[in-house]
Symmetry: C2
Subunit: 294 residues, 2 copies
């Protein structure tokens, strides 16, 4: 199967899995359930589910099984976007080409939508899976909860707000992004590996790959924020510079940032060497992350 | 041991368990970690941990083991208070006798503190426990995540906002509170029972008890909001009437609300009959919930 077909297939399965896992609109509180569906369905590149599936493919894991951690991880990602767009945070009005949740609904609803999506992620991941040892499944919950917390994604968000207007070193910027974007991307990869009953060594090696991909993703995001248009990005372009946020582009300039991205990409590919051709989807996905336009 | 001594003991252990589970202030992001400690430590009646420990006592469960679900449940409760106090929600400035989180810090920090506490609750509950079967532990995670979600606590919060100024029936008010307060109180009881490897029948019976206690807790809360003082409550008194929220008192009047509380209390005691004297702490706790002044 061509990579683009594989990617469409995973994106469609993820849409379907999200659709099935989300509460229908009608049971109370219907406005929150409507808003949860509004933010979760019909958009997004689904990078984290793609990473989870591509990693599971190394170990020949069934896609039905991978849908569960892929969806849980995507829910954590979506909730973080909803909260990050709130007026007290990044105060943004556009996301995935649509008005943000608090604009389309209201602030209280957006707050509760985020809270409920986080709980739902852990709810679906804790339903017993026959194919996986319960102890292994607990480890998966631990990986996701740790990645989502104050030393992972939320910690990165906090740093992101704290450093506005500051001049960071590359090491400091990297530390922030390892938490903000990297932690959840790493979780997506590790959960796919756990589904495949991966050995501790394989998980360690895939962790190295995920760390490079997380930073790579952020460098490209920073470049796109400078070079992309709002229409193509589906979110407000040029916002980092406007908000005086330190980015790879503001620290290094575009040319050096692109060179750094190429270095990261090479290291990411290298980290997959032990898996040979079984990691072909992860190789393709790494290239896609660099070549994407939004 | 006298009930009051037992209660102090559990409150102290809970404080210690929270203190140990929370990240120290110094690792980054220190302002979020400081704020997490500010909201979680040094206060609160710890009703949910008390319920978890009292239920575990029926089955002779070690307190060390019960500390884990008790702390996780309390973290979910604390995060819900932090978010509920935000300007876009109840907009309150006082909680447990101290300025609320967004007043003492800022809105973005309060938002992230709540998000991080929710993740931390699932993080500590997913660390492998030797004393409990992993499959049973997964069930505990599922109970807590479901109780925290859009058909549990968050759903109740959403309804609570939606019904301001509306005239509800008692049945509608009850439905709202079963979600808003009841879901997490029920989870605290059920997690204690799961730690004791309780049978499905015992869990079912304790569920009945927990449902009565959840409503009882809310009826007393409504009465205290009318009759209590801000100084004793540690939160703004008289707020329900001011915000035109439907309560048991506004629907029934104080006298009938107190009669309803006595009915609920009797039913709660009755639900414990199968457990005989092993449930003595739960009996005492039910009485305490009615007699409390804050």
């Amino acid at each position: 199967m061509k990579f683009s077909d594989w990617m469409s297939n995973i994106q469609q399965r993820t849409e379907f899995a999200l659709e099935s896992a989300l509460p229908p609109s009608n049971p109370s509180p219907s406005h929150v359930h409507n808003a949860m569906r509004y933010v979760a369905l019909g958009g997004g590149k689904r990078i984290r589910p793609l990473l989870c599936h591509a990693t599971g493919a190394i170990f020949g894991v069934h896609q039905e099984l991978l849908d569960i951690p892929a969806t849980a991880t995507e829910m954590i990602h979506i909730y973080s976007l909803v909260h990050d767009d709130l007026p007290c945070m990044d105060d943004d009005i556009l996301r995935r080409g649509k008005p943000t949740c608090h604009v389309a609904f209201d602030e209280a609803t957006a707050l509760l939508v985020g809270d409920a999506l986080q709980a739902l992620a852990f709810q679906i991941l804790s339903a017993r899976m026959n194919e996986i040892d319960a102890a292994r499944q607990l480890d998966m919950m631990h990986v996701l909860a740790t990645a989502a917390g104050s030393r992972g994604m939320v910690g990165g968000q906090a740093l992101d707000l704290a450093v506005v207007g500051q001049k960071l070193t590359i090491a400091e910027l990297e530390f922030m992004h390892i938490q903000k974007t990297g932690a959840l991307i790493r979780a997506a990869v590790l959960l796919g590996a756990h589904c495949g009953q991966a050995s501790a060594e394989a998980i360690d090696q895939l962790g190295h790959f995920a760390n490079r991909i997380g930073l790579l993703f952020q460098i490209i995001d920073d470049i796109l924020d400078t070079e992309g248009s709002t229409a193509v990005l589906g979110k407000t372009a040029g916002k980092d510079a406007l908000q005086n946020k330190p980015t790879y582009v503001s620290l290094l300039g575009t040319i050096k940032a692109k060179e750094l991205a190429q270095d990261m990409l090479r290291e990411a590919h290298e980290a997959l060497t032990p898996f040979g051709s079984r990691a072909s989807r992860l190789h393709e996905l790494a290239d896609f992350i660099v070549e994407r336009k939004s």
